[in-house]
């Protein structure tokens, strides 16, 4: 039984609720490369297509290096995530990358992988003992807030009537970092906006949640004529912009989002001034360049598990609506990334430099 068939059989036995992709080892590559196996656990939230793309990029980069590659989906489920860790260990992978939206089980994973002596890279959600690769969410928030603050300064001389922060408290500390960072960014440019003009609401990270909540907040501030909106992501900001449209106040409002999901394409809301791209689908470039490649070469870097001092820092990229029009969609970005020289990031390729 070949390594590949044995792996498939093992996974098929254990992963009943888990979608699996096994990319065979490339025929090319050195002997040591062929014996290196990278495990990748994608988040598995169906609404987040970038999570699937994270796996596609990792698979392609592993293939370029001639590694074996095992991909499992955590299905956004703690039990599946834990079971996937057992599969990786049973498969004797040499390193694991994980985007785990169920951080409560991270200590369990850490104990399992530590016992099996398998190094793990975590994307965006820190865990002691895991190499941290990810965005500095506070810096991302700050960058977006400053950009929106500059617009407010130019357009209204910072004389703002209302600043709405559309939160997504389900995201925990990430919400605090992003929306708090955006508020701090606005304050950096417009420090004299009075405290009573700052309002927070729960936008749930979805237009369908942020829209009715936004209507209510705007109705409760009927005299506000110059309004700024920030949020945990583009959807939560769009909901408030949509609410302003419905209440006949669209021309009074400007928003700046996070994650770049609704700032490209033909349907960009004209009041969404910009967003902050993280290029989530391309995280594997950072993880392989700074962590996995040295491990594969037998020179494992020191474990840096703190988002403040990460193993690899992903740079946030604030983009105005006009600039975003020149950025390709995710499929186009992935294609360009994989065609670029090794180690090139999407930030290098697509982030406007001015």
């Amino acid at each position: 039984m070949t390594l590949r068939t044995r792996r498939l059989a093992t996974i098929a036995r254990m992963a009943t609720a888990t979608s699996i992709v096994v990319v065979a080892s490339a025929t090319a590559g050195t002997a040591s490369a062929a014996s290196f196996t990278l495990g990748m656990a994608i988040g598995g939230e169906p609404s987040q297509d970038w999570q699937k793309a994270q796996g596609e990029v990792a698979a392609a980069l592993a293939k370029q290096r001639g590694w074996n590659y095992v991909e499992l989906s955590n299905n956004a489920d703690p039990a599946v995530t834990t079971k996937n860790a057992d599969i990786f260990i049973q498969d004797k992978v040499n390193a694991v990358i994980e985007f785990n939206g169920s951080p409560a089980v991270n200590p369990v994973l850490a104990a399992k992988f530590a016992a099996a002596k398998i190094p793990e890279v975590t994307y965006d959600i820190a865990q002691p003992g895991f190499y941290f690769v990810g965005i500095d969410n506070q810096a991302a928030g700050l960058a977006g807030g400053e950009a929106l603050g500059n617009i407010a300064k130019t357009k209204w001389n910072c004389d703002v009537d209302l600043v709405i922060s559309s939160e997504g408290q389900g995201a925990g500390i990430v919400n605090t970092w992003r929306t708090g960072g955006m508020r701090d960014g606005i304050k950096k440019v417009c420090p004299d906006i009075p405290a009573e003009k700052w309002v927070s609401m729960e936008g749930g990270g979805q237009v369908a949640v942020a829209l009715p909540a936004g209507r209510d907040v705007l109705a409760a501030h009927p005299d506000a004529k110059k309004i700024l909106v920030v949020g945990i992501n583009d959807s939560s900001v769009l909901g408030v912009l949509q609410a302003a449209e419905q209440l006949g106040r669209a021309d009074s409002i400007i928003g700046w989002g996070q994650d770049g999901s609704f700032i490209t394409g033909p349907n960009v809301d004209p009041h969404l001034a910009g967003s902050v791209f993280y290029f989530l689908e391309g995280y594997a470039v950072y993880a392989l360049r700074d962590v996995i490649d040295p491990i594969a070469a037998g020179n494992p870097p020191p474990v840096k598990d703190n988002p403040g001092d990460p193993a690899s820092k992903v740079q946030p990229c604030p983009v105005s609506a006009a600039q975003a029009a020149k950025i390709p969609d995710m499929a186009g970005r992935v294609k360009a990334l994989l065609a670029a020289p090794a180690g090139t990031t999407e930030y290098d390729l697509f982030c406007p430099k001015s």
């Binding site: 237009v207 209507r215 907040v217 109705a219 005299d223 769009l238 949509q242 209440l247 809301d269």
Partner: protein
């Protein structure tokens, strides 16, 4: 019998006589309407600017889609099928079809028609499974809701109508000072509320909901009634999806779940019996109006939006308790 006991018996008798002489749903109407008025007065006393055109717009926008879905849900409830838990899926499924066809530049009337037909087909699917399998409608619609949402997630993550579409322009606009999407809700509630007890099919639905055995003894087909109700309820949900696409912007396949709680609460609060056979659909205007005012009012009182689900859940518990109380009173 003592004087006190006699007096109590007489007053109880007068009370029953009073209730029996009221038009159907008058008690519920006065209770819900009263609660609504109290809420508006309390909010206005707290902040005078609550009584503003902005508040009116916020409340009526919220009412529109919830009200239409509540009509569909009420039909299902009156007919004894208790609840259709697949409404969130039909809302986004039909909405996704509408968005896709609009993106392909199909003519608007055809798109709207297809949106309603998709809803009706969804209802037909539910009814077929329920009738053929003789299964509990709640379980079936819960399952089809999961299947539908999960399947949509396999196909798309977000979808929206082109922002240049006339449907989107209509969804953001007003007519006589109120949102365009509010008026179809009003017309629907009035029409369905009027025709349900006054047409043969409507009376059949009420009869089947009241007692399926008595209805069958009178020659009313449970199967036909169930098919008709689920198809009509699906078509009405399809209408709601048109309004949803017109007013919501981009949405994910699970976006419809946000409507589930207020719709069910609105139906029960309107006095539509979960046991079937009873309900004045006109009262949906009051119950949905009240429920749509609550979140706006909470913001004026300074509560965070996290409290909205708490209040709506609390109101649902009160409404279910009232429904049980009404049912027990009828049995006495």
């Amino acid at each position: 019998m003592s004087d006190v006991a006699t007096t109590r018996t007489m007053s109880a008798g007068r009370r029953e006589l009073f209730f029996s002489n009221l038009p159907a749903g008058a008690g519920t109407a006065s209770m819900v309407g009263g609660a609504w008025i109290v809420l508006v007065i309390a909010s206005t006393l707290h902040r005078a600017d609550f009584l503003s055109y902005q508040t009116l717009l916020a409340v009526t926008f919220t009412m529109a889609i919830v009200g239409v879905l509540a009509v569909a849900q009420a039909l299902v409830g009156v007919s004894g099928a208790i609840l259709d838990l697949s409404q969130p899926t039909v809302l986004t499924l039909s909405g996704a079809v509408i968005c896709q066809l609009l993106s392909m530049n199909w003519p608007l009337p055809a798109v709207l028609f297809i949106g309603v037909v998709v809803g009706a087909l969804w209802g037909l699917t539910n009814a077929t499974i329920i009738v053929a399998g003789k299964l509990n409608p709640i379980i079936v619609t819960l399952a089809t809701n999961f299947i539908g949402t999960a399947t949509m997630f396999l196909i798309f993550q977000h979808i929206q109508a082109p922002i240049t579409s006339p449907l989107v322009a209509w969804g953001q606009g007003n007519f006589f000072g109120l949102p365009n999407i509010w008026w179809p809700m009003l017309v629907l509630v009035l029409l369905v509320g009027y025709f349900l007890p006054r047409t043969r099919y409507g009376r059949h639905a009420i009869a089947v909901g009241g007692s399926r055995f008595a209805a069958q003894a009178r020659g009313i087909s449970l199967r036909k009634t169930r098919f008709a109700i689920f198809i009509i309820a699906g078509a009405i949900s399809g209408l709601a999806s048109i309004m949803f696409v017109a007013s919501n912007g981009p949405f994910a396949p699970n976006a419809g779940t946000t409507f589930q709680l207020p719709v069910i609460a609105g139906v029960i609060l309107a006095g539509v019996s979960l046991a079937g056979g009873r309900g004045n659909l006109w009262l949906i205007l009051l119950s949905v109006g009240f429920l749509s005012t609550v979140p706006t009012s909470l913001v004026f009182f300074g509560f965070s939006s996290n409290w909205q689900a708490v209040f709506q859940g609390f109101i649902l518990v009160v409404a279910v308790s009232l429904d049980g109380w009404r049912a027990r009173r009828l049995l006495r």
